[in-house]
Symmetry: C2
Subunit: 360 residues, 2 copies
């Protein structure tokens, strides 16, 4: 008989935490909506992190964000150029890069040059080739690199992984995941996500489809072997990117498949479901932070569920990364892990373009 109380405690006790105390001082590079509304408050609420430096293309924006930051000491504002030049380099221990995708490489490389640990947003870069250079820059400099897959430090997702490992649903066989949002309502048609020079291969798969893709890898501890994909849509705001709406299928070893969908031009939705030989696990809503989320395990006529109101996934992620830095251990998911997704994503765009299966 399982102890419900113990199960629930597992949601709040961090299975990864080793550092009793300590602080990692962050430079935040890229002060878009995500950094301002998610990263800054999360660091403010974290136990092991503080925002020491904020970096923007605009000196004025950096100053404004610094003044509004929820920190006892106002962070130092820097421009991109000043950051690359090494200004205030003694004021921070680690760098969080949340610029548009195609700007990850120069700022991660700068952080690596400065000898700082790097937490880089997903996707790792705009293209596979640039992502490989990004990983190499960190390896050459000997700095830790983590890709900011916040699902991997989300307590509900970790509980799902444990349940699958424990055999709760038998052999996992069929995964179904989707993530959609109406991106035009948050930024209009001229945002960087719709500009291939900044976004990369596209937008719905790189920015949203990566969630079911990477979370499936995490849950199953497996890597893709091939992909197929179909893109749809005819909204003019998406003329420059191929994937207004994407359906893609990711094959894994042992005949396991993940049927994924992603769109930047549909209502906000998201779910991840793993159907096995003996039961199913559903995480719903799955991928958006700041929502009441539920993990349900169904087997035969019985079901069990864990629910959580407003878990701050970013706070978990920052504290996890800081814990690793403070204890001198390599953070996961690392650059090589993220490159597997970049290869799969490149293959998805290739598969959609040519209408055929692409092997990995």
């Amino acid at each position: 008989m399982h102890d419900l109380d113990e199960t629930l405690d597992g949601l709040t006790q961090r299975d990864w935490q080793r550092a009793a105390s300590g602080t990692v001082r962050f430079a935040l590079v890229g002060l878009g909506g995500w950094t301002r509304t998610r990263a800054l408050p999360a660091i403010g609420d974290s136990t092991l992190c503080e925002t020491a430096v904020v970096v923007s293309g605009s000196a004025e924006k950096a100053e404004r964000v610094a003044e509004e930051a929820p920190e006892a000491t106002t962070p130092t504002p820097l421009t991109y150029d000043a950051f690359r030049a090494g200004d205030a380099v003694d004021e921070y221990d680690a760098v969080y890069v949340a610029t548009p995708n195609a700007l990850h490489l120069p700022y991660v490389a700068a952080a690596a040059d400065h000898g700082k640990a790097v937490l880089c947003e997903k996707p790792l870069e705009a293209t596979l080739e640039r992502a490989e250079r990004l990983v190499a820059a960190c390896e050459d400099a000997g700095v830790p690199l983590m890709c900011a897959y916040r699902m991997q430090t989300d307590p509900l997702t970790r509980a799902a992984r444990t349940a699958i490992r424990d055999g709760s649903i038998g052999d996992p066989a069929h995964v179904r995941g989707h993530m959609t949002q109406p991106v035009l309502e948050h930024g209009g048609p001229d945002q960087w996500r719709l500009d291939p020079d900044l976004a990369g291969y596209g937008t719905s798969v790189t920015d949203l489809g990566i969630y079911p893709l990477n979370t499936t890898r995490f849950l199953l501890d497996a890597d893709p072997t091939s992909v197929t994909a179909t893109f749809r849509g005819s909204h003019p705001a998406f003329d420059d990117v191929p994937d207004e709406r994407a359906s893609f299928s990711v094959s894994f070893p042992d005949d396991v498949v993940a049927e994924c969908a992603a769109s930047q031009n549909l209502a906000k939705a998201g779910e991840l479901r793993v159907i096995g030989s003996a039961g199913e696990l559903v995480l719903s809503p799955a991928f958006y932070g700041g929502e009441d989320r539920e993990l349900v395990l169904r087997r035969g006529t019985t079901s069990a569920s864990l629910s959580a109101r407003h878990i701050d996934q970013m706070c978990e992620e920052f504290d996890y990364f800081a814990d690793r830095v403070l204890t001198g251990r390599a953070p996961e998911p690392d650059g090589d892990h993220a490159l597997v997704d970049m290869r799969a994503i490149a293959a998805v765009y290739e598969a959609a373009e040519h209408g055929e299966r692409v092997r990995l």
Copy 2:
């Protein structure tokens, strides 16, 4: 402001009912588990139907089922041969055919010869060609034919269709549906569903995948334009059918797609989700009768739900069919509607075999 009470009433008030009274006497052909555990009790609970005749390949089985039927008057037991020969033809008004798929044609044709209205289980037949002959037999005899898509008379599904028609989710764009069950736990490896001579093209798509396929058609009032499909699995019980586990994608006009999955060899699960430009509708669990089911409409940060415990979908279906027969109106979904699914299903098997998109 919507009236919740009125909305809920809509679930129990049959929007299709015209007949105030009357009785349609049924002959039930094929006395497998579905007929015994679902159809017979549903007719017993119905307001417009009664079981007058039960027909089996085995005289002894027909007698036993007749004795156990929940009817005031014990139904007349007949063998298949006696039914075809016209025995007891004055004792029934309509025929429900729930034999293995490849036996639908001879018994529907016999019912048509006897001038009886026909309610035939889905899929309409084992192959498209046989299904076309089945429809022709009813047309030639001038008898009404309805295919037993119980989702179409399910109150929650009808509420979903109304919501979509009313624009609740904006433009529907992406449908996700799946239906799985562990069929080996209910009949072992030697059942007719795994025998292509009786089942037809396969088993997971014909028997289960047809649910998300047909329900999507019903919800969107649209017909498929092309399909792609991939089959997986290596369980020896499925050696004679290609689709132990099926993923298939059904394209509809206006760039709408339904991503479907079906398996006879996974844990029991099922859901149907329609994501639109302004919101999403989820029917979960979707397709199995006898479960507590819920219809959820989400839009922005708000959601509304309708739930129902144990709606007897078969009772709704039988009474709907009887209502149509009693009032002399053609029942829907008719044979031509069912042939659209047969063409799509044949295309799904072709698409999986050749690994390419098949247009309809």
